[in-house]
């Protein structure tokens, strides 16, 4: 029960704190002080108090998409392994629901961007769709490999079972890398996307929410931050020891999440963004990582457990 409450509490603050840590690290690297760590949270509170202007050319899709995207992402997060790999909601096959909920959120964001009829948003949606086509199979492939090895189809059990021996070492390495790359991609960070750019022609995620304002914008920003948090959760579930007692586990989870954010901040401080035409090549790396994990499972475990 305590674990569930902690999970929900983390859900409310950690995604924003991750964004805050990233921007703090970038600020320090650039010789600036940077905004408060919880500034992204304050920004959301500010947006929630604001009104919204809705374009006359949009349909009901544009109106419901932000709420739907946030609801779907939040539900997906409730299915994800949290403190001590405890899920708020769990059942056999929850992993499939979780990934499809993310897909549902993305689908509505895409058609909502197209719904505005803006050339910019259409381009952004096109890019997002293309990248998803590459990223989603790698995530499914990796989750499928874990399921194959552990014989479980629920997130908590999936990660608990695959923890000792040579294969888990490969899985932990490839998985951590995979989740980190996915966090950068889905979180729209450098080198895939640039969250700070003001140039519509180069944007991906930012341009898709260009027409959203007020609470709708807050919902979409929160959903984006939650997605990053999800990949931090999966990383934590992969690398944290199984036999962690509840108290250290409660601290270890935020530590892993903030470490992921710090790493992303360091990446953003050091490298330039890719040319958009080169991003798919980079994303195929995630597929390669998932394939390595699968091949290693066959090699070390003889395939199906």
């Amino acid at each position: 029960m305590v674990a569930h409450m902690l999970n929900i509490l983390f859900l409310l603050f950690l995604p924003f704190l991750m964004l805050g840590v990233m921007s703090r690290i970038k600020a320090l690297a650039g010789g600036r002080k940077g905004p408060p760590l919880l500034q992204p949270f304050f920004d959301m509170l500010k947006l929630l108090r604001k009104g919204a202007v809705v374009s006359r050319v949009t349909s009901w899709v544009f109106t419901v998409a932000p709420s739907l995207a946030l609801a779907a992402t939040l539900t997906a997060l409730l299915l994800a392994p949290g403190v001590g790999r405890a899920q708020v909601i769990s059942f056999d096959g929850d992993i499939v629901l979780c990934l499809y909920l993310l897909g549902l959120a993305k689908f509505f964001q895409l058609i909502s961007a197209l719904d505005t009829g803006s050339a910019f948003e259409g381009m952004g949606a096109g890019r997002e769709a293309l990248f998803s086509v590459i990223v989603e199979p790698s995530l499914f492939l990796f989750a499928g490999t874990l399921a194959l090895v552990s014989g479980a189809t629920s997130f908590g059990a999936l990660f608990t079972l695959a923890q000792s021996g040579a294969w888990p070492a490969v899985a932990a390495t490839t998985g951590t890398l995979l989740f980190f790359l996915l966090m950068l991609t889905e979180g729209c960070r450098i080198p895939v996307d640039d969250p700070n750019t003001h140039l519509e022609l180069t944007m991906i995620h930012e341009v898709m929410i260009l027409d959203n304002a007020g609470p709708d914008l807050a919902f979409l920003q929160y959903a984006a931050a939650l997605k990053m948090y999800l990949f931090a959760l999966l990383t934590a579930a992969l690398v944290l020891p199984v036999d962690l007692s509840p108290l250290p586990a409660a601290f270890a989870l935020p530590a892993v999440a903030l470490l992921c954010a710090a790493l992303a901040g360091i990446v953003e401080s050091l490298v330039a963004r890719f040319r958009i035409s080169h991003v798919p090549q980079f994303l195929f790396l995630t597929v390669a990582l998932a394939l390595i994990a699968l091949a290693a499972s066959v090699y070390f475990r003889g395939g199906v457990a």
Binding site: G31, A119, M123, E200, T202, S269, A272, I276, H278
Partner: protein, 506 residues
Amino acid sequence: MNRLLLKDRAAIPFDDLPTVSYEAVGDIVAGSLFGGLRLVTLFGVPEERDIVRLVALFADDAQGTLAVTGVRTSRGATLPSLTPALPAFHLFERQLWEEFGIVPAGHPWLKPVRYPHDAHTPRRIEEGYPYFSMEGEETHEVAVGPVHAGVIEPGHFRFLCDGERVNHLEIQLGYQHRGVEKLFRNGPLASKSTLAESVSGDAAVAHATAHAGLVEALGDTVIPDRAGLLRAIGLELERAGIHLGDLSALCNDIGYLPGTQMFAVMRTDIINTSLALCGCRFGRGLITPGGVNYDIDDRKKDRIARTVIRIRDNAGLLAAAVFDDQSVLARFEKTGTVDTDTARAIGLVGPAGRASGLACDIRLTHPTDAYARHRFTKRPLRNGDGRVAVSGDVYARAFIRHQEIQDSLRYVLELLGHLAVAKDGIAAPVAPPRPGMIAFSLTEGWRGETLHAAVTGGEGETRRYHIKDASFHNWFGLALAVRDNGVSDFPLCNKSFNLSYCGFDL
């Protein structure tokens, strides 16, 4: 006589202007006469009744001379367009059509330059602008502007795309009807320094220098050496400041944080040096016809020298790191390429032209004042491959900024040294413009060749004032640069040129 040879900042009696046929103007550029000169500008001077005298100015960069010739025509006349053979005439012919209704027959792209339609047959509403369009299953158009997301000037960019690839970019400017050239005609020309500084605010020193040079040519005034030195210091500081700012912005456009932050810090130091020089970070108020408004004492001189040395060294180190970073090179190289032949054909000038391999630099080819007395030299920097970057891509246009920062700051230090012996005052009295003259003044601003020209009337009043900012034809270079590039690379290409909207929308 087909053309008249001039030295720089020269004034000649307007009546001495040769009269040739319009085709002969094309022959001068095409090379069938005099071995091919570069077209600097072509503009019309309205005369009594419907007569229009066209004035064409050419530069011979190898000889360091200018040549001028004239064409007698009238409003509404039809001339054979030279653009199909000589693309450098493209915008000038459109301008003549717009201003005087002179139709360049056979012009492939006859569209307005600065007005909703053509000023000759004015329409109130902007309608029926003949945009290019493209048909196809997977083609789409992306329209950007004229109102942009940032606080910048208005300009409409229309991309004809095939997926992410740009087939063609149409740039439509002319949203600000500033009437700058007309304003120069009100009152004495020598009092228009402030107006000249406002032609394009980021090149205030360049335009003020060009204007002052024009007034001096018309009045046959020679400025003191010390004034020339201070002008050149102001001009080079402006150049270094803008280049540092642009390198920062280029890094920002690719999300490269170290470059973004540190070049911006250095830019601040340089423009603060301009502040120490004349009380304005953008160099306003420094230049006046006859000389400069502010002198510097030895203490200030030493302070400026210390800052300049520090920034020169730091910018060199930082640039070496930036141009060695793989993630940066991956974005800069082979993006937005303008090859040498294209650059020469459309008449690219300034750093953009030099990045494409053209040897155009007024400071070297047509030096005036300090640049003539204290030779400006370049020390070509080698890039990672050991070659001088003339590839015409974003990389070359960025690298040339780095190169010019080093050259400019080194030259500033040399000029500061010369100040010790140049004690001949900071301004000479300016004689009023002589009547019935035409004069030209060329300055190498940070953006490139900056031309001011004037025709005086019977009482020495300004009859016609003409400005050509480097942006005028370089905008077309940008349109060609983005062809076959990703649409998402447009901002990067745009920033590598960093052209002026107001320098175009005169």
